[in-house]
Each structure stands twice: as C-alpha cells, then as structure tokens.
C-alpha cells in the first residue's frame, strides 16, 4: 500500500506544480506576444490560445491539491452551531457529498472524453485543437478530488473547523 500512496502523492503534487507552471506561462505568453506585436512581428497565435487553454489546465490540475490544502472556500454557519459530536458527523457527511459530486463529474467527464475521441471533436480557435485533450482533465481531476474529499470522510482531519465564518 505504501508505494501506491507515495506514487499518488507524487502525482498530486506534480499536477499542482504543473498548475503553477501554467500560471507562470500566462504571464510569459502575454509578455512575448505583446512584445512581438510591438516589434512589428506577427505574434504566434498559439501564444494566445495556449493562455486560454492554460486556464483550464491550471484550474483542473490544481483543484485536487487545493482540496488537500482545504483551500476551497466554504461557509460555516450550521456546523459552527452544532455540538461537537454532531458537527463531526455533519462534516463527514458533507465531505461524503463532495465525494459523490466529484465521482459523478469524473464519470460523466470520462463519457465526455470518450465521446470527443469517438466523434473526433475539435475546438476551433486559431487552430483545430482536439477536444479530448481538454476534457481528459475532467476524469483525472475529479477522481483525484474524490479521493482527497474521501480523506475528510474517513481520515483523522475534518473539513470544518467549527468556527463561524467563511473558511478556506
């Protein structure tokens, strides 16, 4: 089991690093394309398109890591008002609901990805970009998110702190 967990963790952090690189790429691609334009050159169209696609890759690849960091903002009203034992139960139930949502989207994300391959779908911008290259992020990201939320269902830590307010 250990090596599996270690490999999983490594993958999760690799995805987060890829998300961080995508963020930096946003800056780099815009700077290059503006510089080219103002030097009288034709900016490569893929600079613009890669920034747009980069937003999706960034969000999807980073989302599971953010669950681990408890960085997805939530509001604590009900959970804060409950006695500790009930709160633990509600908190785990909410995490379970998040697992269900993530799994649902992972499943239909997989369907979408397969449909895109089968139909040979393209996203048409400056280039014809195979759509499955975008939608493949769904089954991966949402499966990882499901696992991360499951840690708050079964693990030692809770999703909620018990203090009223918006939390992240």
């Amino acid at each position: 089991m250990r090596p599996v967990i270690r490999a999983y963790d490594a993958l999760l952090y690799t995805m987060a690093v890829a998300a961080a690189l995508a963020l930096v790429w946003l800056m780099v691609s815009v700077v290059i394309s503006v510089a080219m334009r103002n030097l009288g050159m034709q900016p490569f169209a893929w600079l613009f398109t890669s920034a747009e696609y980069g937003l999706l890759y960034m969000t999807m690849l980073g989302a599971p890591w953010l669950v681990r960091e408890r960085g997805h903002v939530h509001i604590e009203l009900v959970t804060a008002a409950l006695p500790a034992a009930v709160r633990r139960f509600v908190s785990r139930a909410v995490a379970l609901a998040c697992v269900a949502v993530s799994l649902t989207l992972a499943w239909y994300g997989l369907q979408l990805f397969l449909t895109n391959i089968e139909r040979n779908d393209f996203d048409v911008r400056a280039y014809f970009y195979p759509r499955w290259l975008l939608t493949i992020t769904f089954p991966i990201a949402f499966s990882f998110m499901a696992i991360e939320f499951a840690r708050f269902v079964f693990g030692r830590e809770l999703l909620h702190s018990g203090e009223a307010g918006i939390h992240e």
Binding site: L66, V73, L112, G165
Partner: protein, 436 residues
C-alpha cells in the same frame, strides 16, 4: 414546471448546501448536477455542464486575475510593498487612516483601468490587507475600501462593462461613459467621508501612532527610493494601456513582470519569495476559478429553465409608478446578482429593462448608469458576492466572514446613497453628456 418552482429548486438547493458547509464551488456543482438532470434531460445535461465549464474557463478575459494576484503576492512576499507603505506612511505624516485613502485611490485607479474588479480586489487585497494589518489598522479599514473601489471603477471611464452594456442596449457608448464621471466623483467623496467618519468615531481603527518628523532631504530620498519606482511601474503600465501598446486584459502580465524586475533590482527576489508568490496566487485563483466553473452553468440553468426570465417578467408586470418600477428593477438586478455573473445578467435583463425604461420615460443613459451600479453592488453583497470570496482568499487566514461583511456594508450604503441621489437629481448623470 413554473418559473418559481424552478427558481426555488435551484436557489433552494444551493443555499441549503452552502449553509451546511459544502465548499462553495462544490455546492454550485451539486446544484448544477441536480438542475441539469431536471432541466436538460438527465445524463446529457451533466455532460453539457462539463462542456460549459471548460467553455467558461478558456476565455482570455480570465487571464488578468491570476496575474494581478501574482503581482500583489510578489509585492508582498519580497517586502517591496512593505517598503512602499512605510515610506507613504512617513511622507503623509499624521493623517489618520491615510492608507485607507491610498487604498481607495490605488484600487480605483487599478480596477478602472484593468476593467476587472475581481483582479483589482485580488491585487489590492493581497497587497494592502496584510500590510495595513501589520501597521495596526483594523481589518475593515482595508477590506472595506477595497470592496468599495469596484463600484467606483465600473462607472468611472474607461469601463469595459459600461461599453458592453451600451452595446447591448444600443445606447451611446461615449455618453454612458461620460455620464459616470460626476457620479463617480460623488461616490469617491462619499468613500472619503466614510473613512473620515470611521477614523473619527473609532480612533483605534487606524493606527494612532505618531510618525517621527523627518527632514525634507529624507523625504525626497524616501520618495525617490521607495515610492516613485513602485508607483512609476503602475504609471508605466497605465501609459502602455493608453497608448495602445497593451490591451487592458494584457496589462496584468506586465504588472507581474515589472514587479519581478523591480524586486530583482532591489535585491529582494529570492527563490523562496517567488515560490511563495506563485503558490499564494495559485491558491486564490484555483478557489475562484472552480467557483467560476460551477457558477457559469448555474447562471445558465437559471436562464434555460426560465426561472430568471419568469422572475423578471413577474416583477416588472405590476402597474407601478416609475420610481417604484425602477426600484423593482434594481431589486431584481441585486437578486440575480447574488447567483449569476454580470454579463449573463445584462444579456437577460437588457432586452426587457430598456424598452420598459423607455416606456416609463427614463433617460436611457441615466438608467444604464443605475444598472451598472446595481451590478457592481451585487458583486459585493453578502452572502454570495464573488468579491467577498476573493477577499476571503487573499486576506489573512484569521479574517472572519463577519469582518468582511461588516467592512463591505458602509461602502455598499454609499453606493445606495448615490443611487438615491441619482433618482432625486437625474441631472447628475445627464448634464455632462448633454453638453456634447
């Protein structure tokens, strides 16, 4: 299904899930799965939800926000921001709440030019809230003005949202932009008055410490060493935008690059600072963009199911006198603004509201301005205003929900007061465009 049942189902489920403490993005997604199932025909509706999600995310308009966040984080993590504010502190001397005024000025300048109140909130929030906290300001003295600047930015030209509204409503773009100038100045004055009142009523809200007096020579040195380069960077970016070297959406990238270069010149750019900056920017971006992913479809479900159009038609169907009718439309905008993003609201309401406004004898420019104010107010209205979540993301982790709400309310009241003034004295909006 009747529109109110659809509305009840969609809004009810999201409110319930959020109240139970489900992360906001997941609550949107859960409500979407339910809504897509009911209104879009089962499984294929869920697939559509995912298609919408990537469609909403892969738009260039979202590029500036992470870059503004990066800019603010680098400013903060390298200590450049700290240097600048210490210097401004010492230069401005004893004015109580001085950094709050600086925030209004800087935030308005930034969001008005970048056209992104989310980006500006992200930048100013990550820059000012920790710095001002460190200097003994109470949190509402930084959070409030930052949330307020969005409302100011949307009506002071240039304003991308105003251009879009004018285009959709087919009214004069230039007139709508110019119409915002006087109300914008009034709103800025109201903000200044609010900060002044806050420091008078509660002297502890802003640091009461005395700044040691410094000589003119020291002042000049401070100014040129710690203030001019940083402000200069902003000025350079503004000039680049005005001269058409960059578009407003591209400006943020140069802001981030510029701060990195500045930090390198000041020899405070460590790997650690870079890493922490990217990490900080990424955290808030991911949080906000997964909400964008979810709320894009939620907006669409409200529209597709007929819920929002039902609400609009119902609310505007009463025979009321013009002012009451205006307040009804204003209220509808605020309610929709709690759950939908601004462009969708415009697409939905403009075709109904503008003919109605004409019929009621309203000046379309004046009405457009009030609509813009309503849209921006709804962006910061508790409990779901997206800017509140962004603020929560960038503010220090011990910041509570209550603090953010409390900080927002006085500035929302200023905007409402401005709307009241516009209703009483429409000439405030119509005088300037009428000259041309």
């Amino acid at each position: 299904m009747e529109w109110y049942e659809a509305l009840g189902l969609l809004v009810g489920s999201i409110m319930l899930l959020m109240a139970l403490g489900m992360p906001v993005a997941l609550a949107f997604l859960a409500a979407n799965i339910l809504g897509a199932w009911v209104f879009m025909g089962g499984e294929r509706g869920v697939v559509q939800l995912l298609n919408n999600g990537w469609g909403a995310l892969t738009t260039f308009a979202l590029v500036p926000i992470p870059l503004f966040l990066l800019m603010g984080e680098v400013f903060f993590q390298t200590g450049l921001g700290g240097r600048m504010f210490s210097a401004i502190d010492r230069l401005l001397g004893r004015l109580p709440g001085r950094l709050s005024y600086v925030t209004v000025l800087g935030g308005t300048g930034f969001s008005t030019l970048s056209g992104s109140s989310m980006g500006s909130t992200a930048l100013m929030g990550s820059l000012m809230v920790p710095e001002m906290g460190r200097r003994g300001y109470k949190k509402h003295m930084s959070i409030g003005p930052i949330l307020g600047t969005g409302g100011l930015a949307i009506i002071i030209p240039p304003s991308a949202l105003a251009v879009l509204l004018a285009t959709l409503a087919q009214i004069d773009v230039g007139a709508l932009l110019i119409a915002g100038v006087i109300p914008g100045l009034i709103l800025a004055a109201l903000y200044v008055g609010t900060i002044y009142l806050q420091t008078r009523l509660d002297p502890e809200a802003a640091p009461p410490y005395d700044v040691p007096p410094i000589s003119v020579g020291e002042k000049i040195q401070l100014l040129f060493r710690d203030v001019v380069p940083m402000i200069g960077l902003m000025v350079v970016i503004v000039i680049m935008m005005i001269n058409g070297i960059v578009t407003p959406s591209e400006a943020a990238a140069f802001g981030a690059l510029g701060v990195l270069i500045l930090a390198a010149l000041y020899r405070c750019l460590s790997w650690r600072a870079i890493r922490n900056s990217v990490r900080g920017a990424l955290r808030v971006t991911l949080m906000a963009y997964l909400i964008v992913f979810g709320s894009a479809t939620f907006s669409q479900l409200l529209a597709f199911s007929g819920a929002s159009r039902g609400l609009i038609t119902w609310a505007t169907g009463f025979e009321l006198d013009p002012v009451a009718m205006l307040l009804v439309m204003f209220g509808v905008l605020l309610i929709l603004g709690m759950f939908m993003e601004q462009i969708s609201i415009m697409l939905l309401t403009v075709p109904i509201f503008f003919p109605l406004a004409t019929q009621l004898g309203f000046d379309p420019i004046w009405f457009g301005l009030i609509m813009l104010l309503a849209l921006e107010i709804s962006f910061t209205t508790p409990p779901f205003g997206l800017l509140l979540f962004v603020m929560k993301g960038v503010a220090p982790s011990d910041t509570t929900m209550r603090e953010i709400y409390r900080a927002a309310i006085p500035f929302i009241l200023c905007s409402l007061l401005l709307v009241a003034l516009l209703i009483m004295f429409p000439v405030l909006a119509t005088w300037l465009p009428g000259l041309g």
